[in-house]
Subunit: 430 residues, 2 copies
């Protein structure tokens, strides 16, 4: 059935009617401290929420061997999550429209020092239009929106006319292996929508991301004999200098990548963690840094990793200390390539229409220089992969928050998108 | 009584006769994992060893308030040791010679990664002439030598003709408050000998040492917005750059300090520990570095600390990030001034004679750019403070070891020094 103006209005109102419950649900998600490896209970919570709504459910572990074999798989490490992937499935009695994946991740990045937060990062706090909490924006609000957009249709007696998969994954903040696992499990659809906090815009292109750890170690001595010893912390920082030059060379190539040419600094190298040494008066004998760097879409992750290894090896050969104590480089997380959402897809046109209906402005797109799970669907399923979601502040930072009015607008646009893309029909009676 | 040639020979032989037991005792000391704050049991072991030999004993806690009031006291921190100071006292019935303090410290610096050691750092291992183990050289061999040099006299029926204090302290590797506490307790003598591993030479001058911690914190963001965030690790390393300039300025003044003019690099700044950030893909919001720097003798520790604070404040004012997030600087350990052993003292002449008798070569002196407890006795007791001890390798490093033949030579020289300095007499009968 086609969507009448009345039905559109009903959908808008239904999202509004359900919004108090949606906010409460989002707050409950924030209450789970779902750091990497600690997402078991939040995934069980989602599993129950999908069951309460009558969806068929699939819950499965990641398959390290299958992931290792896939070019988009990231290395498995000791800190890799063992939480399950959860999928809720809506299957209409007869398929009429186009199928859809609604995806979200429920892992969050560490909150950092508690003192830097105005309130407990794992207790949702609402102040004015903003819900604060680690993961409130990235992306528990989106996870709730996936479920509540469908709830809004159901509340007015409608359901999608085609199959919809609601995927809840983990490892989005470290490897992207969760999203890859849904692909390896065999899930496929005609499009995917991932409501990451994208300021009510559509992601046109994004970078790939590599994680790597650089470990330096060497002979420590009493600091009185410092000249004869070697300072592993200083040596590690010399290697950071070499990596900064690599970063500059990669940024200098931005003109070759149309979606990135206008960004100031599309390739960011981040030294996100450092640890080294044991004692102020001993020359430090070890230092380890955890790094993250972006790569342009179309760049092979393995080739980029080789370039990083070569850069560090070449610098080390010319360094008196490092030539005798070469650094150990380990790729221990994201090994992911970027993607471009080619303009002109029907899915994008439909989302654009839903966005205008819900928000009243044309849908804008932009390029984001960070990792997105959307890459799995774009690169390996080769389907239109739409990353589009609410307005946020300080994701990965302190006092992360999401705009609740924006979440409501986005949920409305999502419900309308589902209705347009999948078609709607009266709910099948059991 | 004067020391006859026969008595000298007897002392040499007696040290030799006791040396197997001395090596065993030294190995037992290495077996205690006496890291900072963990020296309780080793101090009790020494207390019992002194009791077994019939010394009067004094065991006392450090007095944080008295230490805080003293200009040579270092700040008390959470990691400060609460182990006791132990003193064994030999008091002859009548005082005939010059009194003496034999001092040693039993705290050790951390061993660092176990894998970097050929064998367990807390199990003494002898290979050829070398005893390996954390603290074997710095300075458990010296602690044993203090006791066994006196044992050697006793074995041939002699004892010092004057008072000898055997002081066993802690906190030498972090504050020097242990040695200061013996001064505050009221111990005084005509000279002090500390058998630190000084390669069979006498320390002519040494530096003071300051410890300080620099903490940087600021707003983290998702790495995709890195430009708008601030990287606390990078900021900390910019501050290290400013400190390296301070270090260079201080080294440039070495010509003003006669004992240091010939050293390549008397003032060493060591960034001994670093820690920062939580996640490879979050811009790090915090970083802390633990530093150690030397100061020339005659430099006021407080004035040097102010210069460090000023250097960091001045650099931060000109730095876009640090001017908004000024670093927090804490002086949390050594706050100690250096000393010079003025040539020409009677104590040095006597040690020179003993050294020649034991080892057969003239006693050489040298300058060492590190902290020594000797400073307490030189600066505050104003007595000849002799730092002189065995040949070692890799103190504060991996596979630290001490030459056992050197320990025997040094113990012989110490026994002869005691005999010359204090005088000897037949043991008092009870």
């Amino acid at each position: 059935m086609t969507l009448t103006a009345q039905m559109r209005d009903d959908i808008v109102r239904s999202v509004e009617d359900g919004f108090a419950a949606q906010v409460e649900f989002t707050g409950a998600l924030v209450g789970f401290r779902s750091n990497r490896g600690e997402e078991h209970t939040i995934q069980d919570f989602i599993y129950r929420a999908l069951g309460d709504r009558g969806y068929a459910r699939d819950r499965f572990a990641m398959d390290p061997e299958a992931i290792a074999r896939h070019p988009g798989g990231a290395p498995w490490s000791d800190t890799h999550s063992e939480a399950p992937i959860v999928v809720g499935i809506h299957r209409p009695r007869a398929e009429a429209g186009r199928s859809l994946i609604l995806q979200s991740h429920l892992d969050v990045v560490p909150a950092g020092p508690r003192a830097m937060w105005a309130s407990d990062p794992y207790v949702a706090r609402i102040e004015g239009d903003w819900m604060f909490g680690r993961g409130a924006a990235d992306m528990k609000a989106g996870a709730a929106a996936n479920i509540f957009a469908l709830d809004a249709l159901r509340r007015i007696g409608l359901e999608p006319a085609s199959t919809v998969y609601i995927q809840s994954v983990v490892e989005e903040e470290s490897t992207g292996n969760g999203a890859l696992m849904t692909h390896l499990r065999g899930y496929q659809a005609d499009a995917v929508l991932i409501p990451e906090p994208e300021d009510e815009m559509l992601v046109r292109a994004n970078t790939g991301v590599l994680w790597f750890r650089v470990e330096v170690s060497g002979l420590p001595v009493h600091v009185r004999e410092m000249g004869s010893g070697t300072n592993a912390i200083d040596a590690a920082y010399r290697l950071v200098g070499a990596l900064r030059e690599l970063e500059a060379r990669w940024n200098a190539k931005k003109a070759d990548h149309p979606h990135f040419a206008d960004l100031d600094h599309p390739i960011n190298l981040n030294v996100g963690r450092i640890e080294g040494g044991d004692w102020a008066s001993s020359v430090p004998c070890w230092c380890a840094i955890d790094c993250r760097i972006a790569i342009y879409p179309g760049t092979d992750a393995g080739a980029a990793a080789s370039e990083i290894r070569d850069c560090l090896a070449q610098f080390s050969r010319a360094d008196p200390y490092l030539s005798n104590n070469p650094p150990v480089v380990t790729f221990d997380g994201f090994h992911a390539e970027g993607y471009v959402l080619e303009a002109g897809s029907e899915a994008e046109a439909v989302l654009g229409r839903a966005h205008e209906e819900a928000i009243g402005t044309p849908l804008q797109s932009f390029t984001t220089p960070g990792y997105l799970d959307t890459r799995v669907y774009a690169l390996y399923d080769r389907i239109p992969a739409l990353c589009y979601g609410p307005i946020s502040r300080n994701i990965h930072g302190f006092d992360e928050c999401v705009s609740l009015s924006s979440v409501q607008r986005i949920t409305t646009a999502m419900a309308l998108f589902i209705a347009h893309w999948c078609g709607v029909k009266p709910i099948d009676k059991a």
